[in-house]
Symmetry: C2
Subunit: 362 residues, 2 copies
């Protein structure tokens, strides 16, 4: 048997929990607001689809004015290419014969495909795979303080760019970073210094791509960036709320959960465990916000249980059988746990979309 | 396009990462050892399928001597009933019309189905759903210190048992607990006290079920328990290793991952992010153990990246393109992220199994 997905027009309160639901109006408003902000600053927007993994939402983002999409893996990009998307940036070092072969096949069937590289090894693999007949776009990934991937200095970025320029099957598209929160100044100086080095060598650097939802509305503080990438802004979550990047009215995703036990006066147990909320803390010390029960604290998760400490909850907490709305700490990881996503407007189901790129890890 | 699953006989080093792989011999040995231990103490074994979610492994567990299986959700039990399993215990409070209706349908098609209850609300819902013609087995869940679900005292357990006995469509099967680690003494006294109260009322209590992998080999310290439930023992993981419940040679699951970046001398980045390892810490302050690189520490995960601090790693760490084997903190949650699982013997693929109950959250 399969999950009893609701039909259009069904009420949310008839849905079997745990289940994330998306508010259509908030989703549309988040897309519109973000695009308008980047438009007003003359920056291109390339949404990251990892947050939703749903082609229909990416279409809404393009219709609002986005120039293309951002994926993290070849397998994600394949799903979106199958759905008709033809301008895709994969912000990942693609390594190994299997993935390079799939990347080459993908490049042959969409109009614009680019990847990033931060090492000679990655560039060598790409250079050996792609030819002049159907070249691949490559950006140099730069570490501007995020301490994940990326070359460490503008000099290293420029040197790697020259290797890309020298490869007949690669087109040097520009430079890219996923910055640390609050890192606008460092991003700007890294981009500017790299551009100057490249200009001195006569290398064109048309794309300067920065990203992140946490600093979305600070994108104008990086004047050298030509585009911005972001995913979480589309749904928002508790981490975005804490950082002041959205209000409670901008939260488009809630996880519906049922109270399955009230073993003690100060304890409730919900059916949204780590298989629904994930264990992502993102700096919190609890696992989500239960709307309407201020002071209730989700103190631990097992796969199918969320244990809620009600000792600080003035309402006394929800009763057994009640359905509550939980704001997850991090929306992107929740999307990856569900085969489909339920959308609604004012509590009435509008559509059920397949999370087409769920589980695309490789 | 779909994931390029390897054929039988393929070498593991040709597999596209990140990917968990299961060592057949260690899996078989873990199943055999656990069953032999419980056999030697005259206890029934009811493995929890949440760890693997794969019918073929549950069949190995039954062939070794297990009496039936343990599921956590109706949707999981449906998958295993479809695969031919006919003795299933769902250790969960089933609430709400939708799930009760599916539970009733499930009960009509398998020989032995039982659930647990820890409240009047749960018992009332079950009593209103099931009739004498096709009654449902119910155990009372007891909180013996695990602080999740369960009635708080033997008196409450006995009182709830009487309500189950009084319902024509329910059969009182016994009492059950998921204990806190090291809680054998408390479990034993809770079970014994409840049994005494029930005996005084003339209520038979044939099943006394305890559980957990962490205290698996302490099951004989609970003489009143007739059966034990456990899941993680089948694969084992880093948390089991830390607790001394297995050795490195008993670790049946590894996550294969590729080094995609070496941005700095003290930093490597792997392609096993939270979509492969999950963010489960289980008391650790890092996200897994990289075999062969002692002192390497996975300090942070994003969805597709694992950042490794190599400052304490004497080997200098793996190089870009190297494939490493990561012991995950918690195996059960890794299983839930992959559509299929790859099995091997000495690095040669033996089979690829569908993770049939993946994503069954409701």
């Amino acid at each position: 048997m399969t999950y009893p997905w609701p039909d259009e027009g069904a009420k949310l309160d008839a849905i079997s929990t745990p289940m994330p639901v998306i508010d259509e109006d908030r989703l549309a408003a988040n897309i519109k607001k973000a695009q308008a902000y980047l438009d007003s600053h003359g920056k291109a927007f390339r949404p990251h689809i990892k947050t939703h993994k749903i082609p229909a939402i990416a279409r809404q983002q393009l219709q609002a004015g986005a120039i293309g999409i951002n994926c993290q893996k070849v397998s994600e990009a394949e799903v979106f290419a199958d759905a008709g998307f033809d301008d895709i940036l994969i912000t990942y070092n693609i390594l190994g014969a299997a993935k390079l072969s799939r990347l080459k096949a993908l490049n042959s069937r969409i109009a614009q495909l680019s990847v990033v590289a931060d090492s000679d090894v990655t560039v060598a693999g790409l250079a050996a795979t792609f030819g002049e007949g159907r070249p691949l776009g490559v950006l140099v990934e730069c570490d501007t303080g995020g301490k994940r991937c990326g070359v460490q200095t503008p000099e290293a970025a420029a040197a790697l760019a020259e290797k890309i320029v020298a490869a007949p099957g690669l087109i040097f598209k520009g430079i890219l970073t996923y910055p640390a929160p609050g890192g606008a100044e460092k991003v700007e100086s890294f981009l500017r210094d790299t551009m100057a080095l490249l200009a001195a060598k006569g290398v064109d650097c048309p794309v300067r791509s920065s990203g992140g939802s946490p600093d979305f509305y600070a994108a104008h503080l990086v004047p050298s960036a030509t585009e911005h990438r972001a995913g979480t802004y589309v749904y928002n979550d508790r981490a975005m709320l804490r950082a002041g990047h959205c209000t409670a009215d901008d939260l488009a995703m809630h996880v519906l959960a049922t109270v399955v036990s009230r073993p003690a006066a100060d304890r409730a147990v919900l059916d949204c465990g780590s298989k629904a909320l994930t264990s992502d803390l993102l700096g919190f010390n609890d696992y989500g916000l239960i709307e309407g029960h201020e002071g209730a604290k989700i103190i631990s998760l097992s796969e199918e249980h969320a244990v809620v400490d009600l000792s600080g909850c003035a309402s006394g907490g929800p009763r057994i059988g009640d359905v509550v709305r939980v704001v997850p700490n991090h929306t992107c990881v929740v999307s990856n746990l569900f085969d489909r996503m339920v959308f609604h407007r004012n509590g009435v189901v509008t559509r059920v979309e397949e999370v087409a790129a769920r589980g695309t890890v490789w």
